[in-house]
Symmetry: C2
Subunit: 411 residues, 2 copies
């Protein structure tokens, strides 16, 4: 049995006209001899509408009830679409997460998939040509409804593709694929034909909305080929797949950025063992993700500690720091909201040096001051003033030759 | 464990203000030492909104998908209400039909409950003080979502009360209880304090919206005391319960009517064995309920057959009759839409004669012609011209002394 998984996002299921386009894609899959598993999100705006209702009803909506509430969004999408397909004579049925079941932990609001038993799915695929599966949702081992977090339908699609050993998981969205950088910011941005899982992970972690980061982790773990493409045109999109030699020949695949950043500096902390733990443990315990961290060289047994958190976490972080002031001996905390991150990403970096210096040189040429630097195996990130973001992205895109097919070859 | 089941209809859950009133009732139940099982309908208009969506998407919406679609209405009600109760510090959770499970057959759109295993419910009641259960929905033995038909939340409430041996099942609605007749038609209509299951069945079968007929059958079968009352006032409402001597002392409990009727006459059918079956079997096979049937005395080996069906079924019935004309030898079919049924109902009839003649005399006194008559053990029904309906209801209500507490005593 050859199986094709197709996931469609909220803009693709926003109304009857668009669903007709989705129907045509499903039929194409059938005509090519596939059984098709269609994963749908809620219609655009529906999840927000439901969460808005929850906030009207409760000052602090219970997470487990919120999950059971918002799963109705996908339930409406899949039942309506199944009706449409049945009218077209296609043997199909809707499938909710709990009917498979997609078993998750009970971390409501951002549950993780524990297990998908494919036996029942394969039974259904023997009986039906198309399964229309509600994305984003699962069920805990106690039978409570759960959701996989924003963008979780991507993960549903990839997880089902993995469980069913599908030929490919197609992620349909309103963009043509993965770009070398944000086309809204840089007019010469170019769609990539292929990208490695690791590069895609870095793009996703920088806030690129094209794929939920967990779906990429899943795809990498189970080696599921993922094709990101547009519902509304025939472009083959971008294939997210295993790294190969061709990819490594390209020094840099793209430029990513993240504006949801703020910088916090704790001055004059005692420079002794355990001080970093004393600062960051309570922040981490509060569920706040600390991103870049820099510690200055110590003077007189004292040092400064600088780090970034997302802007929504600023207030909470400052509150924790002021509470724990005494333990770390800090005398002053400052923060800066006018910052952003810009990164160059590429698996080619693994084998080739010189990318960092090219990046720093490029920024210097534009007179952009670097506030912080962090590196990973395939990414170099600089924190800069937010007002220089667009300039930096364009200059880096240009400097690494990303407007040209194939990008800049190894120096 | 003392358990109270409370079912609230669509008007009771229509918005936050009203749900606050429901919250107050739930708290009252808790204060009296009960564990409370709250059964909710979808918010007013929500089921119709969802069915409207289905009709937009499909010319002939698939019934199984429709069921999975409309169950989201109750899911939204129960999750929002559970949030509200949790904010008030009450230990509670939402429960969907499939989570209990409420096992039904797969007759989508009007499924029947097959089984409710109370073990899981009792477990939940040990952990939580209040369960907020989605009404109207169940799950088939194949795991597909089903609904119990319009008004099915009443049945959910009564079935849960039966499964849990609850003290009482309270059905909250927007009227004070069960009346001797429709108060909108007869200003002297009086609320009944008690009514027997059989009488309630007759009222419900006449289209009285106060309780779904299947819920009354369920209540009778499992002897569940049901109290019909208003969400919006403190009146104790009407208790639907087992028949007792006091009830039998009352000759007539109420006057019911049904405007959704039309009369069909098949003239000149051959008067021979099997002709009734030849006429009614294909109608029944088409799922159409035939109500009153009268066969005239035969003349010259031919007779006329008259019966009533609901108005929505008229067209279909006429089509069937014209198709099967030859088998029954009928030469002419006539129909009349300007008719309605009026009934007097009372368990007192079982032991006392004279009710029929009182009814006929009353109608004659008002110059109302009787078109057809049918009787059951506790009900006498006359088909009359629709224009006389209001006059007939008022005259009968008066003739049987229903405006006076206790009604007319046995003659």
């Amino acid at each position: 049995m050859r199986i094709l998984v197709q996931k469609y996002g909220g803009t693709s299921v926003a109304g009857l006209d668009r669903m007709k386009q989705v129907e045509a894609r499903v039929k194409k899959g059938l005509a090519e001899g596939f059984k098709v598993v269609v994963v749908l999100s809620a219609m655009s705006g529906e999840t927000n509408r439901l969460l808005g209702l929850a906030r009207q009803w409760s000052a602090n909506p219970d997470l487990s009830e919120c999950d059971a509430l918002v799963t109705t969004g996908e339930q409406v999408s899949v039942t309506l679409f199944a009706m449409l397909l049945k009218d077209a004579g296609i043997k199909c049925r809707s499938v909710m997460g709990f009917q498979i079941p997609i078993l998750t932990n009970n971390n409501y609001g951002r549950a993780r998939i524990l297990e998908i038993d494919n036996a029942k799915l394969l039974d259904m695929l023997n009986e039906f040509d198309v399964l229309v599966v509600a994305g984003f949702q699962g069920v805990s081992c106690h039978g409570r409804l759960t959701t996989l977090g924003r963008g979780g339908s991507d993960t549903t699609g990839v997880a089902l593709a993995a469980a069913l050993s599908a030929d490919v998981c197609e992620i349909y969205t309103d963009v043509k694929g993965v770009y070398t950088t944000d086309p809204n910011m840089c007019s010469t941005a170019r769609k990539l034909d292929r990208i490695s899982y690791d590069e895609m992970l870095e793009f996703s972690s920088m806030g690129a909305k094209v794929l939920q980061i967990r779906s990429v982790e899943f795809a990498k773990k189970y080696n599921v080929p993922v094709r990101v493409r547009s519902t509304f045109c025939d472009d083959p999109g971008t294939l997210v797949t295993q790294e190969d030699e061709l990819m490594e020949d390209v020094l840099v695949s793209g430029i990513a950025y993240d504006k949801d950043q703020c910088r916090i500096t704790v001055f004059n902390v005692m420079d002794c063992p355990g001080v970093a733990a004393a600062i960051f443990s309570p922040i981490s315990d509060a569920g706040i993700l600390v991103d870049m961290i820099v510690q200055n060289t110590s003077r007189d047994g004292r040092t400064d500690m600088t780090f970034t958190v997302s802007r929504t976490n600023l207030e909470k972080t400052l509150e924790i720091l002021s509470r724990d002031n005494k333990d770390i001996g800090a005398v002053e905390v400052q923060h800066d909201l006018n910052v952003c991150k810009v990164s160059v990403i590429g698996v080619g970096m693994r084998n080739h040096s010189g990318v960092a210096s090219m990046m720093f040189t490029c920024l210097r040429n534009e007179n952009i001051n670097i506030l912080m630097i962090s590196t990973s195996e395939i990414k170099i990130t600089c924190l800069i003033e937010e007002k220089y973001l667009e300039l930096a992205v364009r200059a880096l895109h240009d400097a690494f030759g990303l407007d040209r097919a194939g990008g800049d070859r190894v120096c």
